[in-house]
Symmetry: C2
Subunit: 484 residues, 2 copies
Amino acid sequence: MQPRRFAWVEKVLKEITPKSSDFSQWYVDVIRKADMVDYAPMKGFMVMKPYSYRIWEFIQEQMDRRFKATGHQNAYFPLLIPEHLLAQEEEHIEGFSAEVAWVTMGGNEQLAERLAIRPTSETIIGAMYAQWIHSYRDLPVLINQWANVLRWEKATRPFLRTTEFLWQEGHTVHRTADEALAETLQQLEIYREVIEEYLAVPVIAGVKSAGERFAGAVDTYTLEALMGDGRALQSATSHFLGQHFSKAFQIQYLDEDGELKYGWTSSWGSSTRLIGAVIMVHGDDKGLRLPPKIAPIQVVIVPIGKGAEREAVVAHAKALEAQLANAFRVKLDDRDEFTPGYKFNDWEMRGVPLRVELGPKDLAKQQVVLARRDTGEKLSVSESQLVETVQHLLDAIQSELFRQALEFRESHTMSVESYQEMAQNGYRGFFRGDWCGSETCADHLKAETGMTIRCLPFNEEPVTGHCIVCGQTSRYRALFARAY
Amino acid sequence: MQPRRFAWVEKVLKEITPKSSDFSQWYVDVIRKADMVDYAPMKGFMVMKPYSYRIWEFIQEQMDRRFKATGHQNAYFPLLIPEHLLAQEEEHIEGFSAEVAWVTMGGNEQLAERLAIRPTSETIIGAMYAQWIHSYRDLPVLINQWANVLRWEKATRPFLRTTEFLWQEGHTVHRTADEALAETLQQLEIYREVIEEYLAVPVIAGVKSAGERFAGAVDTYTLEALMGDGRALQSATSHFLGQHFSKAFQIQYLDEDGELKYGWTSSWGSSTRLIGAVIMVHGDDKGLRLPPKIAPIQVVIVPIGKGAEREAVVAHAKALEAQLANAFRVKLDDRDEFTPGYKFNDWEMRGVPLRVELGPKDLAKQQVVLARRDTGEKLSVSESQLVETVQHLLDAIQSELFRQALEFRESHTMSVESYQEMAQNGYRGFFRGDWCGSETCADHLKAETGMTIRCLPFNEEPVTGHCIVCGQTSRYRALFARAY
């Protein structure tokens, strides 16, 4: 059969806005063309198609394994939260009230109290913990939940900010503040490990300033990544909640000394937003570039050749596929209605890390051609070396994507002594600067430039001694950026 | 430290209603005492605690592996469905309208159209498929979703019927009716395999009569299990939807012959209700009995001894735990505030299949005592034989639970020639009888006795030639029971 869809399909594939000319449009183009998402009929909702959901499954697997290894168990709490419960912690409801979707009818009846679709579950989980915890022997409680949550957002963007998203939320209770804080930081480190080692996205860890904290937290710890357009993405957060929620929900335990005490709690979350980070950090003008560890397809085999030659090539490609399938996630693209050129573009768009090309000449020489998605390099490899070469290259691609992302971040990070210097780069990139600690300065900066304090990075001290906004004595070294 | 909570805790543990005297109360007692669930503050909602959620994870793992092995991919569709979409397939909305929870406010605004929380996703998925499918080359579409759904139920019961529950729902589109039907039956067989081989729950497969079909289906296939009180539980269903949804949602494809045709669809689901089946089929007056393959803890080690002796025993028990942990899910219960007797009861309540008892005398003889939860049998085993004996016993327990359940079902199944005979057993158990095929008879039977047609089992033909209700010519052999 002739490649009848060739012409217009190639055209469609090339219709991606270049990353450099309009990053925002490029992002939307790529996620549609790479078959990651579709828009649902309701504004703000998206459908995660199999190709992106598979990435989420890999992320889940890595996170979940580490949660369990550190003593956490999964559980499931209700989707709906009665309004009075949601309102029980004052700062919390203040932070979330504008974003809540409300259920007011069940069956054909008006409900006596409206129910919130969970925007996050501290309140319903807190109410349950108060009933479960009696003694110091019941602590710590280390529970995680994989769930969907809803936040009624005005401006949405697939993966990054959607009305509904998938995430995990851990909720723990401890006997002491130290333990709760240690938990908070331990979970942040788990996130760092998965995000850097699996998603190949470098992050900067630190603590949020008061104005950027989770509603109800004593301290919010965060991992901040730099996207390809120089904007920051908060990639995962872990909250030390102190006794705010235990006091609001009466989470108390009888201590060994016979006294009734409030527990210390933490919560921590990561979401499908991470898939957005992968796209925005690694993608290029040809589409996605997926790190091998989370690529649904790690190797694609494209047979080349026509007529009778083609048959032999496809048969051999099938044998190669079977051989590679023992060690890798491999796909043979033997569709006969598309040209090899179309297929190259198609799989490049989908970010498959490695392509195996096999033509009649390769067959004769018992070799294949391997093409790297990250660098575009091609090399011929003897079939006898194929499995080990593929393994080696996938490892190399994983490292190379991280290296490139880190290099991009470093070359887009500058130190400033005054916030006016940020204008030089069109406010793109990370900026490091001293801060006096006043929210007035943070607010002023945001209003004037759109820049926010992403975090106060760990282990950094003031450098210049004066705040980049007001010039007064600085207390912190802060990381600034425009953020998603 | 002395076992200070001993007295009242032992009492609490014994406060389970016997299964034989009040099955319904026994069920509720067991799930609370075994730490499976808690009631949420909103009527009809439950919290799945870690112990039951872990069972769900094992079920998910087995189902998901088989779905993927048969070519399905997971995806994620929106929680909320606009009212007009939900109403697009007539029978479907008729079946579900009374059970829907409605979102009418988002943020602080009244919505122009109210949104249903999905009771099932045929409609929203159908609307998306209509956009995704163009050509016969796009078929089959084989997608599954793991999700929460809501049905506003009046009478609820943990796991069996709750307002919110977790499930998976598969939704597929095919080129021909035969393919869609083959898919429907293939998925039913996957359910059967997991339910019988992992949950050790025997099921009867068949097709639903018209009155018991899924709203919008051409045919609903089902697996029916018999619970310990003689009532049936519909354990999983698989629906051949014909072209009902493809016509309602315009799921069309251009066939190879150039004609535009409607696809043939299927949907199939299984839920956390399966955990209820495990409890009701295997549980006894001491609590749960969990099949080893899905038991969160397969082996519990209880050290016995006091004072200095105890220390040596616990140290040795830790070594055994480490050894067993390589092959099994094992837990050492070295809590010092409880007696061994309390612990025995506690783990029996939680249904742990195998208990290892280790005392000073066992230590001296380099042996342990193994106690089976299913039969109560105890045996002494040399430590050198421990791992293989445990493996052997877990396999034996898995088989024995299935055997007992099957025996119970067979001894609670009777053939009847007239429906009045069902009264003999107080309408408990499965009844096989001929049916004329008229819904009037089915309705009459239900109204008078509460018995429903659970299914028309595969490969069974009418036996007596006359309907057990009206006495007219029978067309089917049916399975009757009162059902959850």
